[in-house]
């Protein structure tokens, strides 16, 4: 079964949705959790197959839609978002870090990650100035923090820092409201009348 075309899935299958946390403050997920009791409704409508709030280690195959919080800032983020893109029907940039880089991208004015680390851990340090050296423990930083759509194709954008719960709910309701028609595929169409680049 093609992951890109959920419409081809057996009609009986429950929609599979996921949320992903890249480089962000988790505020978007907090806002998601602020949906409170509606989360019970959500669990009736769809399976949440991967999320920082669910204990799943590996991003699964055949996900219909994913909310991606955070920007792409390190090699782990990069690996994960590419996997997410390959295994998901509709990728939704979830919140301002995912869409613009936002606060996460403020470090981009530093020319290199090394310069940034030196600034943060040496120049600005109050005691024991040293750059953390155990690289294998901490994922390596990318040269620049990038919004998700500059790394992989994104199908929709949900703004806000964080996006308010009611907007998350209405997006999910739109996505799940007509699962038979392949809402995920619908999200991938042209937006604003302009072909995406």
């Amino acid at each position: 079964m093609s992951t890109q075309d959920p419409a081809a899935a057996p009609a009986a299958r429950r929609p599979r949705i996921a949320t992903v946390w890249l480089a962000g403050c988790s505020g978007c997920h907090m806002s998601f959790l602020d949906l409170d009791e509606w989360l019970f409704e959500l669990s009736k409508l769809a399976d949440v197959v991967y999320s920082p709030v669910a204990d799943v280690k590996e991003y699964p195959e055949n996900v219909d839609a994913v909310l991606v919080e955070g920007a792409v800032a390190n090699v782990d983020n990069l690996e994960l978002i590419r996997k997410v893109r390959a295994r998901t029907g509709a990728v939704i940039a979830f919140g301002d870090c995912a869409i613009t880089g936002n606060v996460t991208a403020l470090r981009n004015r530093f020319v290199t990650p090394e310069e940034l680390l030196r600034h943060a851990y040496v120049e600005e340090a109050d005691f024991q100035p040293q750059v953390p050296g155990d690289r294998p423990l901490v994922p390596e930083l990318l040269p620049k923090v990038l919004p998700v759509h500059q790394v992989v194709k994104v199908d929709a954008f949900l703004h806000g820092c964080p996006p308010p719960p009611h907007e998350i709910r209405s997006l999910l309701e739109t996505l799940l409201g007509t699962p038979g028609e392949g809402a995920a595929a619908k999200m991938g169409k042209e937006e604003n009348g302009e072909p995406k680049t």
Binding site: D96, N108, V154, H159
Partner: protein
């Protein structure tokens, strides 16, 4: 009274004599997006958001400085114009560091509003992330160049309404920056009268009142209009 009759988006409308296309549109309830335009000060046609199509003109014309003419046929909202406007806004967001969630003007920002109204939901161009200063040497106000869109409203309002001409531009191209006096820190700019008109005129959170926090600062355009209306129309009650 003599009026100019023209067509805006196919609708026959009338405008006061000498009115610009923008004024004619507003008089008739048609919104044309603007950023550098501010009622009461001169227009410079710089932001290019108010470009409209005029039948018979090979070029797009800025509505803010184009005089409405008899039998003119204006289109303000074609797909092409919308595409250009979205791209203009994308260019602005990519140019400097517009981090809305930490901005005093979040929620009261014309740049943000134009993006929302014109469906600019993401920026396709790489963000430039320039390293720009913040000047908080003035007692009451500050200027954060990261949020400046170089509309020059501050320059014009300071020169034309307050008559101080504290603000001006230095540098060129994307290196342009608004400066106070001869590029001194604002707090040392002798010509500044601390009238605050630049704060009220700024479309974004670039020029702000000190002490305002995120989302808190609203621009009081009426404080500028009060003066300009009084001068132009001899209307003294705001």
């Amino acid at each position: 009274m003599k009026v100019t009759t023209l067509k805006i988006n196919g609708q026959l409308v009338s405008a006061s004599p000498g009115a610009t296309v923008l004024e004619a549109a507003r008089e008739n309830g048609v919104e044309i997006p603007t950023l550098c335009e501010l009622e009461g000060i001169s227009n410079v046609g710089a932001c290019r958001l108010c470009l409209v199509e005029i039948a018979g003109s090979p070029r797009l014309q800025p509505a803010c400085v184009t005089e409405a003419a008899e039998e003119m046929e204006v289109q303000t909202d074609t797909e092409r114009l919308k595409r250009y406007r979205r791209m203009t806004l994308e260019l602005l967001f990519a140019e400097r560091n517009h981090v809305c969630p930490v901005c005093v003007a979040n929620g009261h920002c014309e740049l943000q509003n134009r993006a929302r109204e014109n469906g600019m939901d993401h920026v396709r161009f790489p963000y430039q992330h320039p390293d720009l200063p913040v000047d908080i040497t003035h007692d009451r106000f500050g200027v954060d160049h990261n949020r400046c869109i170089l509309c020059t409203r501050c320059v014009r309002v300071c020169d034309e309404v307050e008559g101080a001409h504290t603000w001006d531009l230095s540098g060129r191209g994307t290196q342009s920056i608004v400066i106070t006096d001869l590029n001194q820190p604002w707090g040392e700019a002798d010509t500044c009268t601390t009238c605050g008109k630049c704060v009220e005129a700024c479309p974004t959170g670039a020029i702000f009142r000190k002490g305002s926090t995120v989302c808190e600062m609203e621009h009081r355009r009426d404080r500028i209009r009060f003066i300009t209306d009084a001068r132009k129309k001899q209307e003294w009650n705001p």
